[in-house]
Amino acid sequence: MAVDSFINWGLLALEPPGWGGVLLHGLLNSIQIAIGGYAFGLLLGVGGAFGKLYGGPILRDLMECYTTIVRAVPELVLILLLYYAGTDALNHVLGLIGIGTIDISGLAAGIFVIGVVQGAYSTEVLRGAIKAVPSGQIEAARAYGMSPFKVMTRVTLPAMLPYAIPGLSNLWLIATKDTALLAVVGFSELTLVTRQAAGATKAYILFFCAAGALYLTLTLVSNVFIKIVERHARRGFVEQS
């Protein structure tokens, strides 16, 4: 019995008697959330980093509170809080305007939650990277009479990219793994569907290993792309060792 359940590869078949299709669909959901959350987090991170470096004292303190709370509270707790509070608050606001409540899709809520967590992390990474840009470059851009926005898009962001990429690529890997936490709030991403498949068939080890292989593949494929991006961003840099 035990041996049978170990090697029953038919369970991984893509068609309904097997659960392979379900797992791949879960992986797709995970990737969607990871990409969405990461992009949202980057936006928040750029805003947060600029706020922290160039904002007024109050903005700076608020940003500090945001990053401190996210870095001190477990992701799982934040995800629960944001998941319930976020959907509740949105419905409350919509109710006040008079549109009435809407059903917020799990996907949108997941992207929002992962994005807020990632935003704090990338704020810190980007802040460090911007500080690594020689200040003379930014001052030169200002001396040319560029507007602050133009300084940001033409000088600060491109110049800080090589410093930020190692940290940002780590954050991408963390985002892909953090999507697993959404299993706790019942969003059917890879980890949760794996548990459902395993519970239905009792082939726990097979399914969890299969899901692990999928996550690992995602990480390794990401690593290849990260290497390419890194080489591209660091071209013209003296390799220091």
Binding site: R71, A72, V77, P166, V184, Y215, L220, Q240
Partner: protein, 279 residues
Amino acid sequence: MTDTTTPDVTTHAMAILPEDLPTAGSFFKPHRIVLLLIAAVLVFCIVWFMRWDWLPQYLPRLGYGIIVTLAMLFSTSILGFLLAVPLGLVQVTGPWPLKALASGFCTIIRGTPLLLQLWLLYYGLGSVFPQFPAIRHSFLWPYLRESWPYGVAALTISFAAYEGEVMRGAFAGVPAGEIEAARAYGMSRWTLFRRIWLPRAIHRALPTLNGETVLQLKATPLVATITVIDVYAVISKVRQDTYITYEPLLLLALIYMCLTGILVVAFRTLENRIPTRGA
């Protein structure tokens, strides 16, 4: 050497470190008084207008949960670090099969979510063990029927893999001259490792150890998903019993912030005693 600095940057982005703590002199500025007042009003509103009548009833259980969380944190960090030392060492100096094994282990553990590893151990191994009579009759069986050994195992493995990568960089980063000097003194390989290489590597790894430990604290609530009753599980129980959504979660966030704060302050005291920065 970019390789050894990257985990440090990411850890800092994800976990509070002692250098983030404000000093008393820099903290009090005019605008902060206003901000503190607003924060005080906010806290007052939360205390006054939200429901906290459940709190006294669950207080003993919360204390017990906090102890479980801390026990999980410290036991897995210490065990994980003990595992991380050989993992790092083997990757720097071991024969190639061991090297490949250790780096493969680190890649696999770091490449998959902790929640998945936890569930693999708990549901996977937990369903396989009872099928072997030898295990069922061994002295370990009373423990293997509980859920906490699986939680400890998963958290230990994860900490070992992340910290093993740090230790690899630390072992590789010890200046070759120091090791050559030890060899020139005629130290045996074991003495060299015990007296020079290991202490220097640990010394170099200490700053990242702070961050990794804070990250480990942030990972402990996951064990609540396999029915270990830590502080997170107690709060979940409160939410199930009372149907209150936010208050327990806010309290939980506050508890974790306090735990993190205490941990970070403790590390700062430790760091002031052992000067590690710039080592």
